[in-house]
Amino acid sequence: MATIDTEKVKVMNPADSKIPEGPIAEKWTNYKAHQKLVNPANKRRLTVIVVGTGLAGASAASTLAEMGFNVLNFCIQDSPRRAHSIAAQGGINAAKNYQNDGDSVYRLFYDTVKGGDYRAREANVYRLAEVSNNIIDQCVAQGVPFAREYGGLLANRSFGGAQVSRTFYAKGQTGQQLLLGAYSSLNRQINLGKVKSFNRYEMHDVVMVDGRARGIIAKNLVTGKFERFSAHAVVIATGGYGNAYFLSTNAMGCNCSAAMACYRKGAYFANPSYVQIHPTCIPVHGDQQSKLTLMSESLRNDGRIWVPKDIEDAKKLQRGEIKGSDIPEERRDYYLERRYPAFGNLVPRDVASRAAKERCDKGFGVNNTGLAVFLDFSEAINRLGIDVVRQRYGNLFDMYEEITDVNPGEKGNEINGTVYYNPMMIFPAIHYTMGGIWVDYELQTSLKGLFAIGECNFSDHGANRLGASALMQGLADGYFVLPYTIQNYLSDQITVPCPGTDTPEFDEAEKKCVEAQNALLKIQGKRSVDSIHKELGHIMWEYVGMGRTKEGLTIALDKLKALRKEFETNLYVPGSAEGMNNELDKAFRLKDFITMGELVAYDALNRNESCGGHFREEYQTEEGEAKRDDENYFYVACWDYQGSDEKAPELIKEPLHYEAIKVQTRNYKS
């Protein structure tokens, strides 16, 4: 069995995280006042590579270019506008307090730290809350059509884990509108010649020269050729690793290959076990399914989650003998409202997901597989009328109907004078990854000149992310943080010419990519990429999913090892290295997902506590709530690659220090 050598565990020097001096509310101001800047004439001489065009990548690329840097920007889709951020539905948080409901920068900071189960770095989160308001201003200035009230001012809605209304939205398409805003700024810079855009390009390696990131090797996905790009610094904004589980709410192309390339070059990978499982997704329907569809968290503003009180009712539902709307109010168990009266249906995602699993494990699931709960709008429709409810959620209702053939706004039954509408069926699914490449306060990785922003870094959400905070973080990083902090690094690079690409370092890096590609094509085994990916997904969901145990994780590590062997000896990739070859590209990504899966399992095995998205069944209270161990696990777990995918990585701890917030048990009950 693969084990972690506890003797070898190192502790990071507190200075390495580069948290500025001073009280929490002044750190970012102090930092900006004292950081080194690059003057306009010098900016023109510096080139930055930004990999990714999601909210993080597009905002960083356009802002750096506006400042005067030359930017090379890459994405795997056919246009920057198609990055996965486009799919975000619900909204983006900011501490504007436009609703006058008592919100403030401190409260957003506090909610985010608490929501993250006290495992995030305080200083980063405070900065995030601080710049959140600028994001809304910036997006409105770009012409992002946020939802508005009749008076013409911006509208807000509520999301989980907060008692204020601070979420800004554009129908159920907030990610789309924010990304199109960033894309428009990016387009302006492309037009001005400051950004060069490379679409259908996939980064395969980061090139290090004298200990600094100086470029990348990227594959042109149309010609099949590897190409070399050099720069003064490299920024990775390539999103999360949720697709290691095969089925997730992520887009099909989401992958962790760029992050894994950085990890293999020595960038630490932090907290991989913190994976978010979203409570409101459409349940799995069959083996052919390729992805899971999210039903936005905003539905929990008006939707109530329930299962039957009576196990007999549940059994009848499972056999298809009755429908949800046949069960009257008094026989329904609104278990979130029952267990968490203060937050009710708006508890954070990890809490809501586990509660659904608990009910289904006890046999109360409501569909044929027993793996679903109801999300019901009867009360809201009766209170507000169907028109108002449809105005709020109509596109989500339509989306649900298209997939499941059930219309949640349709009248189901009238019992004792109360009208019941068809409920939605939902179940938790892999959605977001809080873990990621380790970065310091400046968003620089443990490799000099290599930065990571957006979902692919680990920085702000601790063990669990609150809804509407990923968009906030991506844009905070890209518009307001990285463009400043990167200058502190670049300021002493102004005399360094941009390195050429015909150096031994680039030769070596490209040679490795070609060899890796040839190796994949040479296997000529029997199994398709997808069949192995599905198997990986089953292992991850079963043993490294919502409920983890020491025993299960040990089994997972053994199975993953065997799966890697299967991949290396029995994979079949059709076609050749010439031209476009999607199967070959998928094979590359799968290889990295297997390594990523192991990393998640190692981290989960090491963390003998339950916190946020990481739930170890051995560590729970009698009521089934997560039991943290602050004495032993109040740290960021950074994993250091040991030269081969087969070797267990080494652990380096970054101890957490809280100055502003008192660490407590999370309470959403009162």
Binding site: T63, E66, Q77, D78, S79, P80, R81, R82, H84, I86, A87, K96, Y98, N134, I136, D137, Q138, V140, A141, Q142, G143, P145, F146, A147, R148, Y150, G151, G152, L153, L154, K171, Q173, Q176, Y183, S185, N187, R188, I190, S197, N199, A251, H285, G286, Q288, Q289, S290, K291, T293, M399, E402, I403, Y479, F480, D530, Y572, P574, G575, M580, N582, E583
Partner: protein
């Protein structure tokens, strides 16, 4: 759920310069499986037979990224209205049906491989003027600029365009007017877009013409086939914007 068998008559083309042809494949699927998942099943079959799988664009599979782009039974995104290819479920088809699947066909969108086309022209049109020239930092408080809900909602409806190119594929002239008008309208309806209003309309139309898109003859196929139901009234607005801009030249 019911099992079903369909024949997929698919356009196969090895590269931009190669000659293409239809090939027909039989696939077993079921009513609850999506159309793209049915293509996945077919591709799995092809790979297992050591044949080249069919190349097609897709990513989010929930109707928002605009990546999927199939011309199914003579309609961009197939028979469902207000839905993209990835939102199409097999219950829309009959057991035993032969379904014809082609790439977008338009001079401005050359085929890359099989069902995949190059839509770079759309990016180029946006680059020509689809933005408000504003540098990050220094924005005033968002609520200092009240915008009537009616205009904000109309701008949002135009901004819903996913840039898939169905409008071009549907148009007998291969015109990109619906796409261009959606962006021009979004900004024409908002105060932020006013300063560059004329320049934007001129620049985007000029770029569109340069890139080989056809003219609009008001046939309305674009509106009928748009998966996001972008209204043709946007085109009327674009025409007004463009004429106003030209008159002030």
């Amino acid at each position: 759920m019911a099992n079903m068998t369909v024949n997929l008559k698919v356009w196969r083309q090895a590269g931009p310069k190669e000659k293409g042809e239809f090939r027909t494949y039989t696939v077993e699927t079921d009513t609850d499986t999506s159309f793209l998942e049915t293509l996945d099943i077919l591709n799995e079959q092809l790979v297992n037979n050591h044949e080249e799988p069919i190349a097609f664009d897709h990513d989010c599979r929930e109707g928002i990224c605009g990546m999927c782009s199939l011309y199914i039974n003579g309609h961009p995104h197939g028979p469902a209205t207000g839905a993209t290819t990835c939102q199409l479920y097999m219950r829309r088809f009959k057991d035993g049906e032969t379904i014809t699947v082609e790439p977008w066909r338009s001079a401005a969108f050359p085929v890359i491989k099989d069902l995949m086309v190059n839509r770079n022209a759309f990016d180029q049109i946006q680059q020509a003027g689809g933005y408000v020239s504003f540098n990050c930092g220094g924005a005033q408080d968002a609520n200092c600029l009240p915008i009537s809900k009616v205009n904000a909602d109309m701008a949002m409806d135009s901004a819903t365009c996913i840039g898939c190119g169905a409008c071009v594929a549907a148009c007998k002239n291969g015109s990109a007017m619906l796409f261009v008008s959606a962006k021009v309208s979004q900004f024409a309806l908002l105060p932020q877009g006013q300063v560059e209003r004329k320049r934007r309309a001129r620049a985007m139309v000029k770029k569109m013409d340069e890139l080989g898109f056809g003219n609009c003859t008001n046939t309305g196929a674009c509106e009928a086939e748009c998966p996001k139901c972008i209204k043709i009234s946007n085109i009327a607005r674009l025409n007004r914007e463009f004429i106003k801009a030209k008159c002030s030249d």
